[in-house]
Assembly symmetry: D3
């Protein structure tokens, strides 16, 4: 076996070991054999582990298939971290309020923690997780969440008047797309997490509980 | 201007012309300036136009941003066309039944047409679009749709007993992932389409109306 | 047996043969022995068959009892074809939108086809069948359908303000009665069809699919 | 004017006077000019007034158009008084439970009174009007009302298993038709009454309040 | 045994006899051994029996534990009979409308009777019990009931605008507390009654049926 | 002024000062003038402040009227702290799950914290606050919460079969009363808190976040 092939084989073995650990029943209720991580995903997992101290279970759940994992990560990262008229915090507020509406244990936990972290305001995270109407929000953010939650509960009744309310609150058409896209995306992940009984990594619960 | 640059400029001009047409109010309610298509997306649009006779409006709607468009197409194509224990028809049946539950004009139209096409059975397409319970389905398909629709309506109440029902109907854990992933995805696209008043291309309506 | 009695007997035998065919499992889930058609109903069936190419299954379903069939036909024909400030198309739009709200396979099929036929606009039929809010309607028709669908979903909350909205859209009190009566009637037939698993005659599905 | 014509004219004048009284705001919220009663309807009104002491407001509401009134009365009388495997009391129990589900003031009042009257049990009438599940019913009657109320609330989810439950409770297919037809009919009248703010004649409230 | 002890023993025996009668299956579905009535509660039962002719079953249901019974009676009596900007009738109207929303057989019966009694208007009692929107109420009372019923159905969506509507209808902040407290309390008792299948004493049904 | 009267006057002045602070907008949206605390309530506030570090806002909210405050405290303390077959933790689990169902910011916060504290398991608190179905519970506790949440959502449909399920899970009739009484009580307080926009004291949020 030439040197490069051996290295590749070792890498794969290492990946397999890492992924075997992922069969942990604490990830989800489905038993899916993890695939070897692609180099891009191995790097992304490493990055996540470095930043958070662990690899989020949603990534482990998807890692039975590299194509699916990469597609999910690409879509998610652009949506939540890419350029937008909405701040990262605003996008996480939408994620949490939508997940609360859908009573998704995994997603409320993860995004509630992120709201606490990004805002430095633990109460805001709890309000998004419990009832966003209890938060004292700017008109802009209230309109944003009203749209996101209505879109979650009765998408069939969204109409031009709903978009007009967003425009009146200062949002451009591109922002409306982003509000809709974030709300829609968490309506997807909430259902994927609920369908598979995905379990949030425990450290999330204690994160960012002190006011900054 | 060197030759290559001129060619690139011409290509971009052509793309711009193609995309300008896309501002057609019949695509969606948001006014978003189309970006120049990336080569991959230009090829995909060409392929779609060739196969269908038109570029689906959902692709035009996303084409204001190539990163978003490519991420959407990658996720969607793997999900609906990639390897799975579910046939392409079964995935489209889920897409249609979920869209019907969410009363999404765009998605019922598109996926109802695809069900008619793939099954050669126009009545089946109508049943998925109106009330999937009216179709006389195999136990397998009925269990699949019951799960997908429950996941749509009350994701918070999906539990092990629901997954057990799928297993009893012959589905492996990987299939359960796919059922969940397809149902979840259309809960996303339904909301994106409803939020933006996306309009289905008119040819869908008449497609595959005759029994094969 | 005198001549007249013989003729009557032959007529009844013919009717019985025609009705025996009606036991077709494709009519409904209840097994009810068809009665001999009364002369009026035999004529009406003949008329329907001539006009449509078949006898609608709802008529076959009712034909186990001539009193019930005749009462149903009388009520229905006056309501949908009699004098009214609402056009026949408008009444069929209400019928379809109400049936879509109740997810009634039989009635969406039949009345969606009729909307396509009367309007010459297949897209309008699909919009009524999927989500009437997606159609670009006049204020008058939108108000009419909003009232009909609210009356379907939460009849207990209809109040003077709802009637006032209809009047503001140009409807007289007699028109309001007609909107209410049509919406109410399809709330009846939707339930009768769903309770008995009534199956629409197949030709409806392909009818009037081309734009006129 | 010949004698017969004069008599006819006098009859019509009498009818007009009777009907003018009907414009009483206590009938409904729509102002519809009463038509002259047809002889059949004049007789029926007289009969009702004789039996009840008054003409039920639903009849007055319909009396702006003799065709509509006659069609309604014919359909209703056959349904509620005609031959059936369900007793008149059972049909009225369905009418009341359905009307309670739809919170229809007019219909709960009228049919609750009729249940009290037919059963001689004022508590049974109240239970049908408030929550039929509180009544201690035979299995047969409980199955009948469960079907009727499910058909009222979510008609789209009625399936063969629901009909099977009725058969297991002793109902023949013809009885199932009748249960469905009565439940469906009151889903119609509830909506007509709510849409027009129909007011029950006051005497109903005190009727049959003592146990027999 | 000294004299005083004997007397106490006799009192307890009398109480035990009175309470044994309370095991009547017509009180509720739970079998809970009645405790000896405390002197305060014995007096209150006597008072109730004197005023009403019977001891309300809710009191009998609670009488398995004197602490619970006394706490319930104290809270209830202050709420419904204590000083308030709302009249006793208004508080009973809220109680009835909330109970109707929750379809609680026990509470609709009891409070519907009390509304009839306090108002002298049997129709008003029926309207509260069936659909409060059918009553022709003052703006004040309509606003009061709208708030109470919204608080019952979707408490999470009550906001400052809802309180503002009450203020606009003339209510002070203390009145708003009372409206909320009464509506909230019957959301409690409705559930306690439904959970235990509590049965209203029969005499309620016939009470105050004649207009005063 | 005699000595005792002076002391009483000083006490009252002290109470008034303490209560004036209570007008803090962070308590609730209604402006109600706090009354002087009764000796019993002054002692209870002191006890609470000692144990928790603060006086819970619900107590401050009620303190405009000593009769109401005392009745509330008496009912609540017996219910949550008195003798019962349910542990204090189990009662708090019901309180949290019910409050989550009603999306009550105040009550989820307070009772979620108490569940974390009593159980020493911060994840259990979060599960009760987000979706109790995500917790891995004993059959007993799962049955208990299923009953409590069904009673919250559709009290009208609780029947003998629901009580039978509790008995099968090991609960006696007295326990069923307690489950019902706790669930019912938080359906009351949730609504009182939502109606008045009651705000939880901030320290709750950070309490008991570490696993014991």
């Amino acid at each position: 076996m030439p040197k490069a092939a051996k290295a590749a084989s070792r890498r794969r073995a290492g990946a397999a070991k890492r992924t075997r650990a992922r069969r942990d029943p604490e990830v989800m209720a489905l038993k899916l054999k993890p695939a070897a991580l692609s180099p891009a995903m191995a790097a992304f997992f490493k990055l996540s582990a470095g930043r958070l101290g662990f690899v989020p279970n949603v990534l482990k759940a998807f890692s039975f298939d590299m194509t699916k994992l990469e597609a999910f990560v690409a879509y998610r990262n652009d949506l939540m971290l890419g350029h937008s008229g909405l701040s990262a915090l605003e996008r996480e507020m939408i994620a949490t309020a939508v997940s609360a509406q859908n009573r998704c244990f995994y997603c409320i936990t993860v995004h509630g923690a992120t709201v606490r972290q990004l805002s430095g305001d633990p109460v805001l995270g709890e309000q998004m997780a419990m009832n966003y109407r209890a938060a004292r929000l700017s008109k802009r953010r209230r309109a944003m969440l009203d749209f996101a939650v209505k879109l979650t509960v009765e998408p069939w009744s969204i109409e031009e008047s709903d978009r007009a309310r967003l425009r009146a609150a200062g949002f451009a058409d591109r922002d409306i797309w982003d509000i809709a896209a974030v709300a829609a995306f968490y309506n997807m992940t909430n259902r994927l997490a609920s369908a598979t009984d995905m379990r949030p990594n425990e450290p999330y619960h204690a994160q960012a509980r002190a006011k900054r």
